[in-house]
């Protein structure tokens, strides 16, 4: 009987992590930026039908980079988690924190137990209610690592450079147009071409909205917001 190959646990984890990171770095990036009225999400995504940014619940949004079928699975699982919780308790009891923990558990389990890890990173954002409400941004990695971010977050291909750019240029209390322009400039740091509204998917969690805070910014509006001086 042939002996199974011995691979040390360290080596196995390293290989898996490298595999996942490679897959993620091939994808296009997404940034999240806190602005005056909530949280803005900007993704480089030429498709208008396959979304990377979506609504999870009243105050919660989801963004995923990497393999589409994998983060789409996570998104639907998140919608279910939130809807079941909101239905069995109350709408106010659905929180980004518990959802982010669920993602972290799920991704962590897949990373350690499955042969192939998920090649995804996700952001879970929750906008605070009212004027003093605090926003929450959770960043969950392919291996279940979870971080909470302040002011801005970036993930996907070459996100380190994007994060560095945001660190230097972020200001508090930006209005929507300024925040979008900052987000688009950040995404352009890593490439030579300029991005137009046709290459972008933009959505906000807008705390001035009633109940469901999630709102997509359509291409026409985006065009106006991206044109300086308009």
């Amino acid at each position: 009987m042939p002996l199974p190959y011995y691979v040390s646990p360290e080596q196995m984890m390293k290989d898996k992590a490298e595999y996942a990171r490679k897959g993620i770095s091939r994808g296009k990036a997404i940034v999240a930026i806190e602005y005056r009225d909530g949280i803005l999400l900007v993704a480089e995504n030429p498709s208008t039908l396959l979304h990377k940014i979506s609504e999870i619940y009243d105050r919660i949004a989801f963004a995923g980079v990497g393999k589409y079928n994998e983060f789409e699975n996570l998104r639907v699982a998140g919608v279910r988690h939130a809807d079941v919780k909101g239905y069995s308790y109350s709408r106010g009891d659905v929180s980004a924190k518990s959802l982010a923990n669920a993602y972290s558990q799920g991704l962590g389990n897949i990373f350690t137990q499955d042969i192939k890890p998920f090649e995804v990173e996700v952001l879970v954002c929750e906008v605070g209610e009212g004027d003093g409400g605090k926003n929450e941004i959770y960043h969950i990695l392919y291996d279940g690592t979870i971080e909470d971010e302040k002011n801005y977050a970036a993930m996907g291909g070459q996100s380190d450079e994007i994060r560095r750019y945001l660190k230097e240029n972020f200001q508090e209390g930006l209005d929507l147009a300024a925040a979008i322009q900052l987000g688009v400039r950040a995404l352009m740091v890593t490439q030579n071409k300029s991005l137009t509204e046709r290459d972008l998917e933009v959505a906000v969690l807008d705390r001035t909205k009633e109940r469901r805070k999630f709102r997509r910014i359509p291409a026409e509006v985006l065009h106006q917001l991206l044109t300086p001086g308009a």
Partner: protein, 271 residues
């Protein structure tokens, strides 16, 4: 990968339906039939359970008007004076509940979640027919409870974006779904409200005319039916009225409803 495994992605029909998901993931959260604690009264109502009484819907030029009185009754007693019977189910549709108030409100809540869940998972809204069918399925699921006397028979109305018109549906206890072309009223005062609407309904009424017809019908129902609450000027309790059109759902304010009612009552006093 075996063929069965990849095919599962296609045969899992519960992916966009919240109630189907609950049925297999957390069945204890679904409103399930309870064993009969006591036999139904001879009129089919369980004693001691509040019942919603009159809700109605009628079409007008730009969509649908829905209205409902505010009273819940327990036999000959008033159970609640300020109950809400109209529930916004999404941006373009609403449910008016009649029958056993508890299960009906639970059903409305489940229905709201169902529509929102579908919209979020699929990225687009269900068609109005699709929504009406889903509600029918929920009423059918309630049949065992209906047999115990906890009957729920809502009205469903909404704006059909594809057809560009307002539409309304009534249901029977088995989940049967019937579309009405002009108007319908349900509940203990439903017959009186229907009689009233029959005389006043015209095609292509303006919003104000339709709201007035709806409120006249509720007044007539409150006049004839013990279970239906009339407007209460002293406590400031007025019927709920919603209009549903292409631009969404609008609630009439209590002040607007009061103004309409005062006009109607002063016209009636004059005759």
């Amino acid at each position: 990968m075996t063929p069965e495994r990849w095919q599962a992605a296609f045969s899992d029909y519960s992916t966009s339906s919240f109630s189907d998901y609950l049925r297999h993931a957390a069945p204890h959260l679904l409103p399930t039939p309870e064993p009969a604690a006591r036999p139904a009264a001879s009129d089919g109502h369980v004693a001691g359970v509040p019942h919603g009484t009159t809700v109605l819907a009628l079409r007008y030029r730009d969509g649908v008007v829905m209205a409902g009185d505010r009273q819940a009754s327990e036999g000959y007693q008033v159970a609640h004076r300020r109950i809400e019977k109209l529930f916004k189910s999404d941006d373009l549709s609403a449910v008016g509940i009649a029958g056993a108030a508890g299960p009906a409100m639970e059903m409305a809540r489940l229905f709201q979640t169902e529509l929102e869940h579908y919209e979020k998972v699929e990225g687009e809204n269900l068609s109005l027919d699709g929504k009406a069918n889903r509600l029918g399925a929920m009423i059918r699921a309630n049949l065992p409870m209906a047999m115990q006397g906890l009957v729920v028979v809502p009205i469903f109305a909404g704006f059909d974006e594809r057809a560009g018109v307002g539409r309304l549906f009534k249901y029977d206890v088995t989940g049967g779904r019937y579309e009405e072309t002009d108007y319908f009223a349900q509940g203990s005062g439903g017959k009186d409200a229907r009689d009233s609407l029959k005389k006043r309904f015209r095609r292509d009424m303006s919003r104000d005319e339709a709201v007035r017809a709806a409120l006249e019908a509720l007044l007539d129902a409150a006049d004839e039916d013990l279970g239906t609450g009339g407007p209460d000027f002293q406590r400031g309790i007025f019927p709920t009225v919603k209009t549903i059109s292409r631009s969404g759902i609008t609630d009439l304010t209590d002040d607007d409803v009061r103004r309409h009612l005062e006009a109607i009552l002063s016209d009636r006093g004059r005759n």
